[in-house]
């Protein structure tokens, strides 16, 4: 009964929000700095930098950041997660209703929307996009994020402006996951899908005019290795509060600048207006100086949503033939490590002070889901030594390093990725801090491919890496939480949970994902975080602050902590003429 009323209430609030949002276009969007209220000047060019070449213009076929940039600028989704508020906003979907105990969504599409080539957008395009992403031959990396435990959404067109999305199981975040899927034009790509060549459609040699989308810009030029040029999509459907058609900008140019130093110099000298990625702590001082000189604005967006992860190989039997088996996979070891590392020192060394200590997978930035009361291990080397003693590791010969019962030194390897300053520096701090409690860590930096290979084949002692999260809502990262998940870092894709506590997390997360009651979900996830903190399968140390910079002439930015910090709202960015 209670449950039912909650259901109704959630629905009403949601519907109300959608009606408001739909009627006002972008009225519901936040207005940082009060800029959005002013009339924006139309026109102008924006130059951004990306590090790498896109792999394709087809977001369904690749997931690299540059392909994502192309998608953000040229395509649109049914709903958009507002990166500032983390709320779902109607986008191509104008409104929707829920039925069938939350399993079925009936989506009303925005009327009179056309693709950039003038072709009308209909429900068929939505159905087609789902067909394409789920197609076996496409093998899309996006497909994983649009499934519930391996089961697909069923998407049908009720009429040209109505789409029905049926979930295979109750899914609390609901349409939130639709933010993952750009809607692609059926009239352009249907032939490729039928021929089984969808994944190679819209490759880099496609003439730009053939790349058609619903986004604010269209690709107008691609110079391999040099740049991508996007011009205004004259058919774009969105207008600002005063009815002026968006986007404000006439043109966005993405220069490909592979080297970070060159990127910062380009920003500083005004050759580019902003970088696609955030400003690394090491570059902060340079950008700050340019900001002090009035050439750029430097924005502190707060603490990142994720921290670099340190975990041990917890696959049962991974160390069966290893003398370290009695202690290497024990909870006490990980708790001791968490206590041995001084997180403030970590923040000072790795992020030059621009970071906050974290103790679990959610950072304080994730206001909705962060469990502030989850247990945390304070910096306490003495207790760390006691804990290590409880698994048989103590200094038996007085040399400062600790040994196991057989007098073998307590020593393990830590793999990390070469060429990533925050990882390499973090690994060095972990090594030095653990040395103080007697643990010997051999840091081995590997090149990305070799490291990933080792993680996947579970041939490592411990890893310090940045797997990256996809969404702030835990229900959208099931592969991390479930013991059967592919991103369950410490012991991937288990047939049955290896431990009691993983089983418990599986159960809690299953309920958390299905529950329609947000407060209940929060309670369940708090519990998950508590269990996680007790067993620490992954240890987190510091989440960095995120800085972004843009040249002073760029206005109306809506900076957000999650990537891409500035360009997620490309259609409302403007420049001073």
């Amino acid at each position: 009964m209670t449950r039912h009323t909650r259901n109704v209430r959630t629905f009403t609030t949601a519907a109300l929000a959608f009606v408001m949002a739909a009627s006002g276009g972008c009225r519901s969007k936040p207005r940082p700095g009060g800029e959005a209220g002013a009339t924006m000047s139309h026109g102008g060019d924006l130059v951004v930098s990306v590090r790498t070449e896109p792999r394709t213009f087809n977001r369904l076929a690749a997931r690299d950041t540059s392909t994502d940039l192309v998608s953000i600028l040229t395509q649109a989704k049914l709903v958009r997660i507002n990166r500032v508020t983390q709320e779902v906003e109607p986008w191509l979907a104008e409104s929707w209703t829920r039925s069938d105990a939350g399993l079925r969504y009936t989506i009303k599409l925005r009327p009179n929307v056309t693709f950039s080539d003038g072709h009308p957008f209909t429900a068929d395009d939505v159905v087609f996009s789902f067909e394409a992403v789920y197609d076996e031959k496409t093998g899309s990396a996006l497909a994983d994020s649009l499934q519930m435990g391996g089961r697909k959404l069923r998407v049908t067109a009720a009429d040209p402006s109505t789409v029905v999305v049926a979930f295979p199981a109750p899914f609390a975040p609901g349409l939130r996951i639709l933010d993952n899927l750009p809607i692609v034009p059926r009239h352009k790509l249907e032939a490729a899908l039928k021929a089984g060549t969808f994944a190679s459609a819209w490759g880099l040699s496609t003439p730009p005019a053939d790349i058609v989308g619903l986004g604010p810009f269209v690709l107008s030029e691609y110079a391999p290795g040099q740049r991508l040029v996007f011009t205004r999509n004259t058919h774009y459907w969105r207008t600002d509060a005063s009815g002026t058609p968006l986007p404000y900008l006439d043109r966005v140019t993405a220069d490909i600048i592979p080297d970070e130093s060159a990127e910062i110099l380009s920003l500083e000298s005004g050759r580019i207006d902003m970088t696609f990625s955030s400003v690394a702590p090491e570059s902060y001082a340079l950008v700050k100086r340019a900001a002090d000189a009035g050439r750029v604005k430097l924005m502190d967006l707060g603490v990142a949503y994720d921290a670099d992860s340190f975990w041990f190989n917890l696959k049962p039997g991974a160390f069966a033939a290893d003398a370290r088996a009695p202690w290497l996979q024990r909870d006490e070891l990980r708790l001791a490590i968490s206590m041995a590392v001084d997180r403030q020192l970590f923040a000072d060394t790795v992020f030059l002070g621009a970071g906050v200590p974290v103790y679990g997978p959610e950072t304080p930035s994730n206001k909705k889901w962060y469990a502030a009361d989850a247990p945390r291990a304070p910096h306490d080397p003495a207790r760390a030594r006691v804990l290590l003693g409880s698994v048989g590791l103590s200094d038996r010969n007085g040399d400062g390093a600790i040994e196991d019962a057989g007098n073998r030194p307590a020593r393990f390897t830590l793999l990390t990725q070469k060429g990533r300053p925050s990882l390499e520096r973090g690994a060095a701090v972990i090594r030095d801090e653990l040395k103080k409690v007697g643990l010997v860590v051999d840091v081995v930096s590997l090149e990305a491919g070799a490291l990933i290979q080792r993680i996947l084949s579970a041939t490592y002692d411990s890893v310090y890496f940045d797997p990256g999260t996809t969404d702030t809502d835990p229900a959208i990262n099931p592969d991390f939480w479930f013991s059967s998940g592919s991103a369950h870092l410490w012991n991937m894709m288990q047939k049955a949970p290896a431990t009691e506590w993983e089983k418990r997390i599986d159960e809690l997360m299953a309920r958390q994902i299905a529950s329609p009651d947000e407060a209940e979900r929060k309670r369940l996830f708090d519990e998950v975080q508590r269990i996680f903190a007790e067993h620490l399968p992954v240890i987190y140390f510091v989440a960095p602050r995120v800085y972004v910079a843009a040249s002073a002439r760029v206005t109306n930015l809506m900076p957000a902590v999650s990537r891409p910090q500035l360009l997620w709202a490309a259609d409302t960015i403007a420049v001073k003429q």
């Binding site: 070449e53 990396a141 880099l204 290795g225 490909i256 592979p258 110099l265 491919g449 990933i452 592969d479």
Partner: protein, 316 residues
């Protein structure tokens, strides 16, 4: 002579074949493959397997190699996994950019390095000779990464030259040549400076040897002006070392430089190769290696021919 050239050509073909084969095999032997680097660690196993099947990376090394050889025999070197385009389309496009850069740098290095080498080599001591030699040694002991970075830094801070890239965004077509020249300065200097230093050192050493030889002294004793002796008689004899390496330099320059092209954002062959190496793009790596060995073979052939011209003793 014709049989000599035919033999060299045959060897060039063998070189290209073995180098690209070895690259392909090594790329498969290196840990991780294109799918692991592109899908990351969180992809589901089925997705990974499907992707492997799609890129046909699920075959054994032997099978993959055999298929590749069959294709290569028909000049089909496979499709790049990263860019999903034929390798034979990607390479010429980037090789052209690298060639523009390489030839500019080569011309600059020759025009700067050789005359300086002749000057420093033909006179003993002197402040100018010392300064030139010290500058050469500085350039030779600087890592290429730092040289490029320093030039980019200087360009950005002075604002005189573009920071990187090959052209300005939206440059008008009438100013295109001038625009390209402006963008060429920094990367060409990064390549040319160490090269000029090398030419200078080689030429200086050879020159100082030749200047001391009896025939030069005899010519001087006959009353021929010193400048004429240096620039005409001694020069020809001292050109041998530079002639010997010139072709090799051309060959390596045309394969592109990783450091210079990455730092100055020049869209050349070196950068393409580096991206391909990192992404485990097996066919593209093999293609780039093949292109590199082709340039090297052509270069060494050129070098031997040049050497034969300067010094007939070394020819067949």
């Amino acid at each position: 002579m014709i049989s000599y050239i035919a033999r060299r050509l045959a060897f060039a073909v063998i070189l290209v074949f073995t180098v690209s084969s070895a690259s392909l095999v090594l790329a498969r032997l290196a840990p991780g493959d294109y799918v692991t680097t592109s899908l990351g660690i969180d992809a589901r196993r089925e997705t990974v397997e499907r992707a492997r099947a799609r890129y046909r990376l699920d075959r054994s090394i032997g099978e993959q190699y055999r298929d590749w050889i069959v294709g290569a025999a028909r000049l089909d070197f496979g499709r790049s996994l990263v860019y999903d385009r034929p390798v034979t389309d990607l390479i010429p496009e980037r090789a052209a950019n690298t060639a523009v850069l390489a030839l500019t740098a080569l011309a600059a290095a020759t025009l700067i390095g050789l005359p300086l080498g002749i000057i420093t080599g033909s006179r003993r001591g002197g402040v100018a000779a010392w300064a030139i030699r010290a500058a050469s040694l500085v350039l030779l002991s600087m890592p290429p990464l730092l040289t490029s970075l320093f030039l980019v830094f200087a360009a950005a801070r002075t604002g005189w030259l573009p920071v990187g890239g090959m052209s300005a965004a939206g440059a008008a077509s009438e100013g295109a040549t001038f625009d390209l020249l402006r963008h060429l300065v920094v990367p060409a200097a990064a390549l040319a400076l160490p090269l000029a230093a090398m030419f200078e050192r080689l030429q200086a050493q050879a020159m100082s040897e030749v200047v001391g030889q009896p025939f030069v002294l005899a010519t001087l004793a006959r009353g021929v002006p010193r400048a004429r002796v240096v620039w005409r008689d001694a020069l020809k004899a001292a050109l041998r070392p530079v002639a010997a390496v010139y072709g090799l330099v051309v060959g390596t320059l045309l394969s592109g430089s990783f450091a210079v092209e990455v730092i100055t954002a020049w869209p050349g062959l070196g950068r393409l190769m580096l991206d391909a190496l990192r992404a485990r793009d097996v066919y593209l790596v093999a293609g780039c290696a093949a292109a590199g060995s082709m340039f090297l073979a052509a270069g060494t052939l050129m070098s031997d021919a040049a050497l034969a011209l300067v010094d007939p003793r070394t020819s067949e």
